[in-house]
Amino acid sequence: MTIAGLYNYWIVILLMMTGFYVVIASGNLVKKIIGLNLFQASVFILYISLGKIADGHAPILQAGISNYSNPLPHVLILTAIVVGVATTSLGLALVVRIREAYDTVEEDEIHDQDESM
């Protein structure tokens, strides 16, 4: 029962670490931001997993149903999704601006240009 009970969390950790790996290992700034988004989406899945109750229903009240999943994580993640898009758009705008200034979005080339100035 332990494996089945923790399977969700472990896969989510694998997904998080995949996103984390993309962020720190890839040199392309756009790919870094996509990695950050992968990380973010997996955190959402973790929170929603925590809110699920066995045989629960979606938290929209109806007569005759008494077993609802926890609505609080859903609310937190709704907020987080929208904030996530705001930060993503700001990050991508920074990438476009960096591309204008340096003519590249590869991290090491930007670094070389800074060194050679």
Binding site: A4, V30, P71
Partner: protein, 185 residues
Amino acid sequence: MLIEVVNVVILALLAVTALAAVRLNDLFAVTMMFGIYSLLATIMFVVLDAIDVAFTEAAVGVGISTVLMLGTIGLVGRRARKVSHRPILPLIVVIITGAALVYGTLDMPRFTDPTAPVHQHLGPYFLNESPDQIGIPNVVTSILASYRGYDTLGELAVIFTAGIGVLGLLGLRRRKRPGHEGGAR
């Protein structure tokens, strides 16, 4: 039982998609992988009873994020250079972090356990009190707009700030002068 099976299958697909996104160097393909990943996450949210989150993720995560990324790729080019050095250090960091997190999950309440501490205090309170205090059937909406209204207000402040930031970076266009700032061109 069906839900458990769907759960396992979708999580496996998510893992495959994420690993594919790591290996690809064409940014367009990586973006499409991210879109698929978000769509699978949306299915996951429906399975886990979070239909409001699924709506938002389908519109915002799959839609707007992907469009923003495609727009950026259109401006900066779709080829990512292959990483030339062996990524040993990032791999070690990631594995250690992942191991620490897995160790942390061992104490966590099991998936779908109704006696978990998180289901004992605020969740039941909202579910029981919302019909009388707010009076709409969707508890998620009543928490979002009423019990945690300040939270949502803060969210709007964040979006507004991000909008100003993007405008400042890109929108209020100063004309490109040849050889300005750093002379990179």
